[in-house]
């Protein structure tokens, strides 16, 4: 049975946090669907709050601490990434963006990603499509079609006649994401940087 690595990145700041809660629910739903398809799933959670100071130091010094490098390696080595942020000032939080600013722009190419966001009111739900989706499109990730927004009120209400409730949205997101992961070709591992022999570098410049 093949084991897939699922990594959830949560940018929630409080403890307990509804952002982490949503990340966990999305992870659970995905894992359940993958298990049905005979995949074992290894889940890891990256809590950005614990890395906030290391992230700031990386911007200042130009290199990551061991803990931050470990988190970046987990995310870039994952078979699927669940990325969840609170909405701050009409977008993803600065901490969330800062973390992904430190990931090599090519490192998530082709990686399936499930997006989630939380906020106080449902009026911010388009942040998923106006902020998160373009960010991961730039990173050339494979973005799962259903992204999930959870407003505070969603945690205490069901659906109405027009909209599904939060559990149904999470279930659908998990199902689609599991299919995306299963379909995605396992990417090549993190190999050594390829060395271009010097004759080739010179030849590329068409010297005399």
């Amino acid at each position: 049975m093949q084991t897939l690595k699922l990594v959830a990145v949560s940018a929630g700041l409080s403890s307990p946090s509804s952002t982490r809660l949503l990340a966990d629910r999305l992870t659970q739903a995905t894992r359940y669907r993958l298990a049905e398809q005979e995949y074992a799933v290894d889940v890891e959670v990256v809590e950005l709050r614990d890395l906030a100071v290391d992230i700031a130091h990386h911007f200042v010094t130009g290199f990551p601490s061991e803990a931050l490098q470990g988190a970046i390696d987990k995310v870039t080595g994952a078979d699927g990434v669940i990325a969840v942020t609170p909405v701050f000032t009409a977008s993803y939080s600065g901490l969330f963006k800062s973390f992904f600013d430190l990931v090599d722009p090519a490192a998530l190419t082709g990686t399936p990603v499930l997006l989630g966001a939380t906020g106080g009111t449902a009026r911010h739900s388009l942040v998923l499509d106006h902020a998160l989706r373009p960010l991961f499109a730039y990173l050339r990730a494979r973005i799962s079609s259903t992204a999930v927004y959870a407003a505070s009120e969603d945690w205490g209400s069901g659906g109405d006649e027009y909209t599904e409730g939060l559990p149904a949205r999470i279930t659908r997101a998990g199902q689609e994401f599991a299919e995306l992961i299963a379909a995605a070709e396992r990417r090549a591992g993190d190999g050594e940087e390829e060395l271009v022999p010097f004759e080739k570098q010179l030849a590329d410049l068409r010297l005399d």
């Binding site: 200042v60 290199f63 601490s65 060395l195 271009v196 010297l207 005399d208």
Partner: protein, 359 residues
């Protein structure tokens, strides 16, 4: 082994007094620092090259030519010479002239430069950084070795029947190092030519240095210049010393906390454990420096950064006294004892320099 200092040439406010030296003071202080390096028995003085404030060394051969006239033994070098944005023809002319004036006491280190706008200011494109470094150096290498050069490349106007003057002193071009932090292409370039490889080393964790030096050594052997152990390696280092470790930390902390490169970031303690920065007693600097050998092998040149972040001239000169009296003599002896036969003690010296030592 050669020991020396390298300067960035920054004009930085002393955070303990709020005083900022003028450009004139900084340039004159740089000369005083170089003369002191010779006086205390160091081997090398290297200057950076920058074309924007708050840095003063935009004209390295003017500075080095002046220092050459006032010293006898010091090897004059660069850290680095911008091979991407300088015209390789002008580098060939300037450094060959310097080599004559300094009676061979010249080598230089090629670097790409990391200030984005410098590229367009000098008519280049930063996205072509590596190809520029490769093509420009290929031309420089040829200009110093062939009397009449016909040449066409991608970045510079063609040359037909061109002779770069003066020819290198006694027909021997200055030795060249290639400096890099994490670009394997540059380690490969240094290895291809059998030139030296200098790892900046400071400001970053040692893993980058270890990886690049290993690659350079392997490729140096691959290209048939010698064994991996014989490849010519240089390292940067950054130190601040006082007799008592606690005094060194107390005095250096405000400079660290406000330094342009890493200030307002991690603590002095964290940065010291993550990078080669050593703030402490002379003995601590000796031990830390000897430990570099454990991950790069026996190497030929160690340059220390001692004059940045607004440190006053007097303090810098005191640092050089400590280096010359207490640190370098011990390091020379220890490194020499550890170095196996067959591994060169220094980068190649110009025959004129060797001859002057034999007299």
């Amino acid at each position: 082994m050669q020991f020396g200092i390298f300067t960035v040439g920054d004009v930085t406010t002393d955070p303990t007094t709020g005083r900022t030296p003028t450009e004139h003071e900084r340039i004159k202080n740089t000369v005083a620092i170089a003369l002191k390096a010779e006086e205390v028995g160091l081997d090398v003085f290297a200057t950076g090259e920058h074309h924007n404030p708050p840095f003063v060394p935009s004209s390295p051969t003017t500075l080095l030519g002046h220092i050459a006239a006032r010293t006898e033994n010091l090897i004059l070098s660069t850290s680095t010479t911008l091979i991407t944005t300088n015209d390789p023809v002008k580098i060939a002319e300037d450094y060959a002239t310097l080599q004559h004036l300094a009676d061979g006491r010249v080598d230089l280190m090629m670097g790409r430069g990391n200030t984005g706008p410098v590229y367009p200011w000098f008519g280049q494109d930063i996205r072509q950084g590596i190809p520029l470094a490769i093509e420009n150096y290929a031309l420089l290498h040829k200009l110093w070795r062939e009397d009449v050069v016909d040449w066409e490349g991608k970045f510079r106007s063609a040359l037909q029947g061109f002779t770069s003057t003066p020819r290198p002193l006694d027909g021997v071009p200055p030795f060249v190092w290639h400096g890099s932090i994490r670009s394997p292409e540059i380690a490969e370039q240094a290895a291809y030519y059998g030139d030296g490889f200098f790892a900046n080393h400071i400001f970053w964790p040692k893993q980058h240095t270890e990886k690049m030096v290993r690659l350079y050594r392997q490729r140096y052997a691959h290209y048939g210049h010698g064994t991996e152990e014989q490849a010519i390696v240089g390292l940067g280092g950054q130190v601040f010393m006082r007799k008592n470790s606690q005094d060194a930390v107390r005095e250096f902390r405000p400079y660290f906390d406000n330094a342009p490169v890493y200030g307002h970031g991690p603590s002095l303690e964290d940065f010291s454990s993550q990078t080669p920065l050593t703030v402490g007693s002379p003995q601590e600097v000796i031990e830390r420096t000897l430990s570099f050998r454990e991950y790069v092998g026996d190497y030929q040149r160690q340059l220390f950064l001692v004059d940045h972040a607004g440190l006053p001239l007097k303090t810098v000169l005191e640092q050089l006294d400590i280096l010359g009296e207490e640190v370098v003599p011990v390091l020379r002896k220890e490194f020499a004892n550890l170095r196996p036969a067959g591994v060169p003690a220094t980068a190649p010296l110009h025959p004129a320099v060797l001859a002057s030592k034999e007299v």
